[in-house]
Point group: C2
Chain length 283, copies 2
């Protein structure tokens, strides 16, 4: 006999019912996976309950029964938002694979996206060394911030202190996405005449032949660092050139680096869970 649980159910009590990672059920039986419904036998369900409870017991909940949860984009690494979780929020996320938090102001569970439909689809969850902080590693269905911004972190403290006009509209970007954003700005500048120093990026953006010859040249130079056993630092430098020039081409073609990473993730399967599923399918 099988019991079933709607994946998005938020009414699961913190203990005593059946919550378990989807991957486990798939391994158990492919037939038990039906779109949003997960099936499991009572026996398996009980075993998993025990495991999840043990894991929830391991977390150092604070005096209010809460821990910190950080939602991070599995492709770009962008920190999307940060909230708090209680036992129920974490067990719901484990079951539903939609990032779920506990709202301290409303004293209630909430799944990011329940109103906007911009869910964060959780691929894996990580505990920190102190067991009081977790990461939801996932793919967002759309902008995460209620303001419509891609992430909630768009106010630079140093820009604020320097009275920058841009303060409050610059996302907390890591190196690759700062570069992508710079290239994107140069592309926008093409529509208005520029004063001052000419930009190499703008030149590449307007000359396909130059751009492509640079990409081919840099790829060749990267290879030659291996073929001619050059210094390792040369390899890093040539790879930086390959990346930069390729990213100008991506910008020309309106392709985001994130799109490339999505291709890679799907091709190589990002998480252990996915690897496991693939292994199960092959078996």
């Amino acid at each position: 006999m099988a019991v079933y649980y709607p994946v998005l159910s938020q009414s699961l009590p913190a203990r005593g019912s059946c919550y378990f990672p989807l991957s486990y059920c798939i391994r158990d039986s492919k037939r038990r996976r039906r779109s949003n419904i997960v099936f499991a036998s009572n026996e398996k369900c009980n075993t998993l309950n025990v495991k999840v409870d043990k894991l929830l017991d391991r977390i150092k909940w604070d005096d209010k029964g809460l821990a910190v949860a950080i939602a991070q984009n599995v492709d770009t690494g962008a920190v999307l938002m940060q909230g708090f979780i209680n036992r129920e929020a974490l067990s719901t996320t484990i079951t539903s694979r939609k990032a779920t938090f506990y709202s301290r102001s409303r004293s209630t569970l909430w799944t990011k996206g329940e109103t906007s439909k911009n869910y964060i689809n959780v691929h894996d969850i990580y505990l920190d060394c102190d067991n009081d902080s977790i990461i939801y590693l996932g793919t967002p269905d759309g902008p995460t911030c209620h303001t419509g911004s891609e992430t909630c972190y768009y106010t630079s403290v140093f820009d604020q202190l320097n009275d920058e006009e841009a303060a409050g509209s610059k996302l907390a970007s890591t190196t690759l996405y700062s570069l992508e954003s710079t290239i994107s700005k140069r592309k926008e500048e093409l529509t208005v005449p520029q004063e001052g120093k000419p930009s190499w990026t703008r030149r590449l953006l307007t000359d396909d032949s130059l751009l492509c010859s640079k990409i081919r040249e840099e790829a060749d130079e990267l290879c030659r660092t291996l073929e001619e056993k050059e210094e390792n630092s040369r390899t890093a430098s040539e790879m930086a050139d390959v990346l930069y020039h390729s990213m100008v081409l991506l910008s020309k073609r309106d392709v985001k680096f994130e799109d490339v990473l999505e291709v890679l993730r799907k091709r190589f399967s990002q998480s252990g869970i996915e690897e496991k599923n693939n292994r199960t399918k092959q078996e």
Copy 2:
């Protein structure tokens, strides 16, 4: 008359003394920058104190006077650790540019690295839309976790639930670094005879000529998506091929993708602050 403050001082009171971002002082006068010492005039100092206080007032401190702080690697996007901050911790970080937190267990300020010397050098700080969570975007001097792990997030919840042997030793990696890690595993496998399906990555790792011809070929195919106006999805796919094959070459040469990003960051200057400094130097 100039007053000076050691950059690493943690004895700054939360209000009333002079704390300010380094960049501001550099703009003020190059001569005022002396390794770890920052100089500013009293007048400038007062203006900055007001600004920093205003910013600290804006943060929604909880009933214990705390907010969440997430330290993130500016190059890789890896979440290094998460702690809490009070006014003093944040103002100290703004001044010192070393990620500083408030320890709830020890009721004291602490700068990550004060014992291990593995500081996190803060390039920028971001506030979230609710003003109760911040990101320290920085470069770590070494492993962040007290266990010696690169980050504190190395325990996968789903691995734990699936009784994986690897549970507890897999870093929360985003797509690019999962791929890097997979390539690295294939490289290790070269030393022992493998059963089962041959791996394309292993083959590339043992055949420089094949690897280099693939990199040149994929770079050429990427260019042709522009030259021959192919679908955008083809561009993403070809760029994924360029990346993957180049990353195999990086692995062969013991170069980390992080090293490449460091080159890019230094070349294109990651943060607005650095851009500003460069502008100041040119003026």
